[in-house]
Symmetry: C2
Subunit: 235 residues, 2 copies
Amino acid sequence: MAKQVVPESDRRRRRPTKQGAVLSERLIVETALRMLREHGAGGLTARRLGAALGADPSTLYRYFTGMDDLTLAIGEELIGRALSGWTATGDWRPDLRELGLGIHRAYLAHPHAAVLTASRVSGRPRELEADEAILRVLRTAGFPDPAAVRIYHAFIDQSLAFAALDAAALALPAAARASDEDMWESTYAHLPPDTHPHIAATAPLLAARMKDSAYPAALDMLLDSAGLQLAAATG
Amino acid sequence: MAKQVVPESDRRRRRPTKQGAVLSERLIVETALRMLREHGAGGLTARRLGAALGADPSTLYRYFTGMDDLTLAIGEELIGRALSGWTATGDWRPDLRELGLGIHRAYLAHPHAAVLTASRVSGRPRELEADEAILRVLRTAGFPDPAAVRIYHAFIDQSLAFAALDAAALALPAAARASDEDMWESTYAHLPPDTHPHIAATAPLLAARMKDSAYPAALDMLLDSAGLQLAAATG
DNA sequence: CCGACAGCGTCAATGGCGTTGGCATAAGGT
DNA sequence: ACCTTATGCCAACGCCATTGACGCTGTCGG
């Protein structure tokens, strides 16, 4: 008992602006998004965001309860954009592919949001909307309910899991990523073929793939399997 | 022109201990793993790790070049644990399934470690061994190199990504998980069918699946697609 | 045998981070 | 006029990773 579920007014932001203000929640989120795009997830700090806005970092706390609140607002904004830029064509495979890439892209900006969404049942409107959309695509395509639910679960968790992973990699300082490339050149690319023949044989292919996220490929493979299950069910 | 490329001796560790030392690389990694398991990724700091070892934080820099180097060593240790309990049977599908579940399980035991180490190229022996094993299974099974590399990449990243996600869910306090079930009961299970018909229609199935990890299903789907690609390649 | 040296550990300091409390100011509502 | 409230800045606190100077101790070459 005494679950102490925060009554939402505690985590709510302050009232809408009435007086003449230089900043605004909207302006802050947009500036934060620009910083994320230009400098990566690790480049977004309260101090730098304040500087970019020409304001003191502490001013941000007039609009958000903390950095966590800010990133949550960013996540809401991004998932909203992902959903608004998506319309079902009736073809389940491209529809799901598009939606998956959109969700992945949306959550890429903040890994914490992805982990929270996947491990908690938030019941936020946007999340409900996304879940409903996925299930609608699957069930109207003819997937039986057990298969639809199984694929839905794998689909959404895969999108969020890869987003969290890829965002963490993106958040690495540039020095670490550069040193990774050096490491690849000095170690992987020149492995003796007698001890590691398969890595040596595929080194160029590995090098080409290492820089990109594996999510698109994983998503396509999931959709492959879904097609298999649909054929088995209807046929 | 600055010094630019570090000649790899900079990122290398110091020579093995000869004199009587209180600490050791092995002891530090094990302590770090315990801290990760007990306090999550955010709980691992140089200061706290030093305190847990009864040493000054700066002492860690005698063994590792920095926190970045430490996390690489942690990943290496976990990969090694997953590999030690695995032997190839020659049947690519159960072999990969077993290996995937092993990697997932290894990282699951130490929450948040996957997200710290994935997508990094450490070039450490254990990691090379795992990569070589996966590629060997795929290539000896007859996968063409491009398909083998594509599947390898999706396979390893998916294992780590789901491990990170599932570990985060597992690390939640019992109170939070209980409140999630309440949230399910109060929100998802009683959604009005006219606004969210597909969630409402599959609510019981969704509820049953929500508690488990989607990784086994996602892994099977990835292997499904791999089988499809193998069949297409071998005619 | 002894001095040089390398491994090991500590101390103090640097610069970055999120966050807080106090204080000023300007706009509304009364 | 008043008071309230929103807004912004300043200084400070306690974290964080990392570094350089300094002492100690064991090993080894002369």
